[in-house]
Symmetry: C2
Subunit: 237 residues, 2 copies
DNA sequence: ATGTATCTGTGCGCTTTAGCACATATATGA
DNA sequence: TCATATATGTGCTAAAGCGCACAGATACAT
């Protein structure tokens, strides 16, 4: 039997790609390719979910919005994960929002199919749970980083985490939106990004960030980035 | 068949208490009561776990320690939860530490027993996963709170979350240690606690905090507390 | 081509918190 | 009883980040 693959193997989701062929074939008919555009809301606070989403080229940001409108990101999902963990964790809804941070594709799967396959207790269940644990690490590290590190360090972390999840060196994202993600003012992002530009680590033009020198970002970033990356590698690599 | 209970029903763990009798009876022989003292380490960063722990009267703090020694708490587990989720999530180890924040008892269960019962896919599995989702909410809200709220608000949140998990109005905890949990300086805690004392919300004497007026704490706390509490109620209540 | 909306850069005063120094108060043990 | 360790309170200075105001600069639509 051939290795399962969709149109473009490179754009596949890594969780699905890690499934043994017979499990993947069982799910394949239920998968549907869809595309998301920047800013699109995947699910709202407390909202009901009919599908889970396996991003291929899209990046999804998990955000919380306070009563006064302030926002902060707790985590980030790309082609290494799945959006909608509440559907297999049993909660049904999540107390946060999921917003497209980088436009692109995803594969969606009806909730019922996911839950039935999860209940089989096979490889799929194990993968979803290990992904969830990796996500917990990411959220935890965000908590720690928010408390202990500077805006510039966090911007580096955010850029690197995003860069890991897109195929290109360009990110389409305004400083305003990055501010919303990091939970800081837009001016704070301007300042930090300005310093990174001065070091020729990135270039920034009206909502288009180009990663010029990843090594420099990795020099400026706090240890949080590595902790998260290592844990994803360990659990899903 | 009688409702399962240990020596003191009041001190039981709520996850175990929610199990149907036949599932509980299966696990009961594997449970062993142990007691923890303040500051004791339940598990270390990356350490291997032989048991999971279901706190009864103890409170366990989940902490991360940076390379420079700075620490911050990501979450808190009491008699509403379980310590060692990595054992059923599949990761084996967690990238954080678990430290006793309030001395007391817990029931421990060998990893193998936990994993076998989890694999049965019964009520136990569902409960553990829902608890994990609630924990994710707690960690997420910690992340958001760390970013957006003042030390005083966070101290209130921390006091209320702790108070919910102990049977008494007194917490044994120095300002120094609270600083470590919240990831702020000891002096910052002194200041915030001083204001709460002035309002007669708490009294504070050398490592002994007494909650005098919960209502006042609930007035000063940020919305994060309610989000977490509501989610625990929804998922496990 | 031009007007308008959007995005980025910059200055300034204010608040919160960090970092440090040190004073005071209470428990503990020889 | 007294020395010592521990815990809390307080007073500085400095830095980071916020809120606000506004000035360019660039994209977009008509």
């Amino acid at each position: 039997m051939p290795v399962p693959e969709l149109k473009d193997p490179n754009s596949q989701n890594r969780l699905l790609a890690a499934l043994p062929p017979h499990e993947f074939e069982r799910l394949r008919p239920a998968l549907q390719e869809i595309s998301f555009s920047l800013g699109q809301v995947v699910y709202e606070f407390g909202g009901h979910l009919d599908y889970v989403y396996f991003p291929t080229t899209a990046i999804v940001s998990l955000l919380y919005t306070m009563e006064n409108g302030a926002t902060a990101e707790m985590g980030l999902t790309g082609n290494d994960g799945v959006v909608g963990i509440a559907l297999f964790m049993g909660g049904g809804t999540m107390p946060n929002r999921a917003v497209i941070q980088s436009s692109g594709g995803a594969l969606r799967m009806p909730a019922k199919v996911l839950q039935d396959e999860f209940a089989r207790g096979g490889k799929f269940q194990g993968l979803l749970l290990r992904y969830t644990q990796a996500l917990i690490t990411q959220i935890s590290q965000t908590a720690v980083c928010n408390r202990l590190h500077s805006v510039e360090q966090q911007l580096c972390r955010w850029l690197l985490l995003s860069h890991d999840r897109v195929p290109a060196d360009e990110l389409v994202m305004t400083q305003e939106l990055i501010g919303d993600m990091l939970g800081v003012r837009r001016e704070g992002v301007t300042l930090a990004a300005g310093r990174l530009q001065a070091e020729r680590a990135i270039s920034y033009v009206r909502g288009h960030i180009t990663i010029l020198d990843r090594a420099k970002l990795e020099q400026s970033v706090c240890e949080c980035y590595k902790v998260v990356r290592d844990e994803f590698d360990r659990l899903l690599g």
